[in-house]
Amino acid sequence: MTHLTMEQLLAVREPGLEPGVAGWRDHASACDLCRAELDRLDQRVARLRALPALQPSRNRFAEIRTATSASRRRKRWVAFSAGGFAVAASLTLAVVLTRTPELSGGSAQQVAEQQELDSIIARSRSLEGAIQDYNPDQRVTDGRTAVVAASLEDRLARVDDQLQMVNMMDQSVRREAALRLWRERVGLLNALVDVHVTRARAVGF
């Protein structure tokens, strides 16, 4: 007599009636050995369900909460990058362009400042790309890293707010303010890359 295989015994326990299962059920009810095997299978599953629940070693809510808040802040400055970034960059460039030597007879220093601004904005885009590729929202961080990242993102948000106000400043200080703010923005993004990407590489992600 051929007894039921483990796969057939498991199929007998499944709800519904797939082809062939009715015959296996008939066999299990008629065969002492297979019925006993089915009972043992039921008992094993019951024992699995009765295993004690394993508990985490500590409460991680504070870290999760910090990471959730950081994600909201990040969305804010990413939104600045997607929409306000282009506006802010064009405003800032416009400030400088009006003072280029070709258009208004400006100095060599002004040309150098425009080039620096172009370079800083490109650098800013590149750093944001690195952070977005890393996608911190999908990563696990320890509490200390999350706090440092949150602080940097807060400062970044403040710089972005100020950048959006540059156009309302007096013409004489706009260029200098814009350069200062873009430099600060790149410095903060560099620090964020260090916190997220460099640390991730160090731990093998």
């Binding site: 483990m6 498991l10 043992r40 094993r44 295993l51 394993l54 999760i64 929202d137």
Partner: protein, 178 residues
Amino acid sequence: MDLFRLADADAVLPRVKAGDPVAQEALYRAFEVPVYNLARRICRTTEDAEDVLQETFFEVYRSIGRFRGDGSLWGWVRTIASSKALMRLRRNKYRETDELQDDITPLRREDTALRMDLETALERLSHTSRAVVWLHDVEGYTHEEIAGMMDKTVSFSKSQLARAHTRLRRWLGEEVPA
């Protein structure tokens, strides 16, 4: 699962959706243990399970606005946790050395000293088999659902379950002479 805490979780749902941190903590307290337990049963290490716990709640808070209440809240949270745990398994690609050991040193049925308890036997299964056993037998997922989560076929899920039970039966000393 603690039914009182589960009821709490459903009651605070509107406040969690509004981003209330007190309600978020209540939800965490309600589901912390079952989420960790599921993650720990699937993942190989406690560190991985704790990471899955954190990733799960992060995703829950971020996506809670999309939860429409079609099924139970726990069912929704559990699906996120299962998915995160399986992703971690795939990412870490643990070596399945346990199966090799089993082939080299088969347990004799009469050698009761070598019989394992269920916890040890479960831990000894390959990570894929253990995940299928836990998701099917304990969490109550169907083979179709498991196949979907693992990006495998239904036949794969069924054969992993059969293979796991064959091994558990042997390791637990439950084999009966034919």
